[in-house]
């Protein structure tokens, strides 16, 4: 490593350097069942790639299809949109976590 950053713990072991991907937490939001929701990523200008993790939360129905929202990201405006899928009973609450690098 000729340049960059290298962080070591008190034992002298490197635990963070400029070869890793930073765990940048851009935000999270919850889209309620049957409803659309959106979230705006702050400082989107600092980020060139976003990553989405979608979770279905709480107890899911066991007698029918359970659909999570579809999620899209506008990389220019930083607006993350969650769109409900399925009918009112099929649509489930979706939790979205956004990371970026």
């Amino acid at each position: 490593m000729a340049y960059g950053i290298k962080l070591k713990n008190s034992s002298g072991n490197t635990f963070y350097d400029s070869s890793v991907i930073g765990g940048n937490f851009l935000g999270s939001f919850t889209a309620s069942a049957g409803s659309n929701a959106s979230f705006t990523i702050p400082h989107i200008d600092l980020i060139h790639t976003t990553y989405i993790q979608k979770f279905m939360i709480n107890d899911l129905p066991t007698n029918q299809e359970a659909h999570s929202h579809t999620v899209s990201v506008n990389g220019t405006t930083g607006v993350v949109t969650a769109t409900a899928v399925g009918n009112s009973s099929q649509s489930q609450t979706t939790h979205v976590i956004i990371l970026g690098k």
Partner: protein, 312 residues
């Protein structure tokens, strides 16, 4: 950015910033037990964990058995209390170890006096080397195959299970299919150069898949025979299995696959006649499968890979 710090990695990606908070290690969620066991085919367990965090956590799974598939199935949140259900394949209890990360707040109270500390305009910490910031090795967008079963897709055309009186196990045997899912997965490359046994991944399970087989049998003993009472033998049978998406991390591949979580079984076997030797052998209730012959929620989801060594 009027002021502050932005540090980028070797690829030009944002590494440390005074504007964006980084995830830091906040602890290992407490394992509280098994919520559900399913022991047929590839089997599965649903393991439960609890965690306290004022900030939204990101939970990683360090597999207890590297040959099994795991994923975060669901979570429940009330205030700062979080409960996570994690699914794992297999017919033995092998709960993984979870590692939780969240953004920091405030100025911190570590006694360590060295390292790197970055704050935002509000004075909240965005990065604190004393608090074990999350170092990601790779992020892979992964989806499982459409059909989870090693035996391939089932057909809804009726199979003939034959007549076996009230022997449920005989009907069941006739309706069987290779519903195992251990060998059905889509493989992805990841940055595995320094792979070790402490690698962990953050991965939600949202895709669901359900498949069924249908059975029907009819024959008549005595029909058309004047010397024999008519005996109508009728069988309806259904066997189905429900799956949830899960992942396995090998030393070179991320495998997006499935866990079988539940099965559905229905049997109606009836012998009817005007003579007094009728019988009827039914399962209680209906078949109950929520849907079948398809997969829902199969969309790309980010799988985040890191090394737990630094957080043990």
């Amino acid at each position: 950015m009027g002021w502050g710090i932005h540090t980028k990695n070797d690829s030009g990606d944002l590494l440390i910033s005074s504007d964006i908070k980084a995830f830091h290690y906040i602890g290992t969620p407490t394992y509280t037990g098994v919520q559900q066991r399913y022991n047929n085919y590839s089997g599965s367990r649903i393991y439960r964990y609890t965690l306290t965090s004022a900030e939204t956590p990101l939970v990683f799974i360090k597999p207890a058995n590297v040959n099994k598939f795991y994923a975060v199935l669901t979570h429940f949140n009330t205030g700062s209390s979080w409960t996570y259900d994690v699914i794992g394949s297999g017919t033995a209890d092998e709960p993984p170890t979870l590692y939780a990360f969240a953004a920091l707040s405030g100025s911190g109270s570590s006694s360590e006096t060295h390292g790197v500390l970055v704050k935002d305009a509000s004075g909240d910490r965005t990065f604190d080397s004393r608090e074990k910031p999350l170092a990601i090795i790779d992020i892979v967008s992964a989806t499982p195959p459409d059909v989870p079963m090693d035996g391939g897709a089932t057909s809804t055309a009726n199979v003939d299970p034959g007549w076996h009186g009230c022997s449920t196990s005989s009907y069941r045997t006739a309706m069987e299919w290779d519903f195992t899912s251990d060998d059905t997965h889509t493989d992805y490359n990841y940055a595995s150069t320094n792979h070790n046994g402490n690698y962990m991944f953050a991965a939600p399970s949202i895709a669901q898949s359900a498949w069924r087989r249908n059975g029907y049998h009819y024959h008549c003993d005595g029909c058309g025979k004047w010397w024999h009472a008519d005996e109508h033998h009728t069988v309806y049978a259904n066997l189905g299995v429900f799956y949830r998406q899960a992942y396995k991390l090998t030393s070179s591949k991320l495998q997006a696959g499935w866990c079988s979580t539940k099965e559905f079984w229905y049997l109606y076997a009836d012998k009817s006649s005007w003579a007094p030797w009728n019988s009827e052998c039914n399962t209680s209730g209906s078949f109950g499968i929520p849907f079948s012959q398809k997969t829902v929620n199969k969309v790309s989801n980010s799988v985040i890979i890191a090394d737990a060594t630094n957080y043990v």
